[in-house]
Symmetry: C2
Subunit: 97 residues, 2 copies
């Protein structure tokens, strides 16, 4: 070995992050947020492109937020989701530390 | 939107790649390969650190190979697995094209 592989505990944590992205709806949601102005989108703008109900969209957004890929801000009656800078890029390097 | 999000078909393909990494054993295996000399490891070196049987290790390595993260070369009686350059990095950008 030229460097140390990650521990089993770190592997389990990292696998949880990948699992959060291992779903077509969540990949689509994060892609829409990434493509939006300021890398931020209102939950009200995410139901139509996914063809899903708002509770279902909110459920998937919660998984992405809990995993640290999105941040959530409430403004008025709507929740806005923004891409957490560097979170996706860190995933690739998490495997090789 | 400032750029186009990915299509539902692309989202499904990308989700399959993330799913391949959404498992602690596979994260550990790819991390060991990444930490090995030349980013390559013999299947015979991957059973002991994972504590799994060789058929189980080979099963997980096949999933990682099919997903395009590892390449497989046979030399003598052993199969060697190498990290496919750029495959992990492409994952992060796959979400924002």
């Amino acid at each position: 070995m030229t460097s140390a592989p990650i521990s089993l505990e770190e592997a389990a944590k990292t696998a949880t992050l990948f699992k959060a992205l291992g779903d077509p709806t969540r990949v689509l949601l994060i892609s829409i947020v990434a493509a939006s102005e300021g890398h931020e989108a209102c939950v009200c703008d995410l139901t139509e492109p996914t063809g899903l109900s708002q509770p279902t969209v909110s459920h998937h957004l919660k998984i992405l937020t809990d995993a640290g890929f999105l941040s959530r801000t409430r403004r008025g009656s709507w929740a806005y989701y923004a891409l957490v800078p560097g979170a996706l890029e860190r995933l690739a390097t998490a495997l090789a530390t």
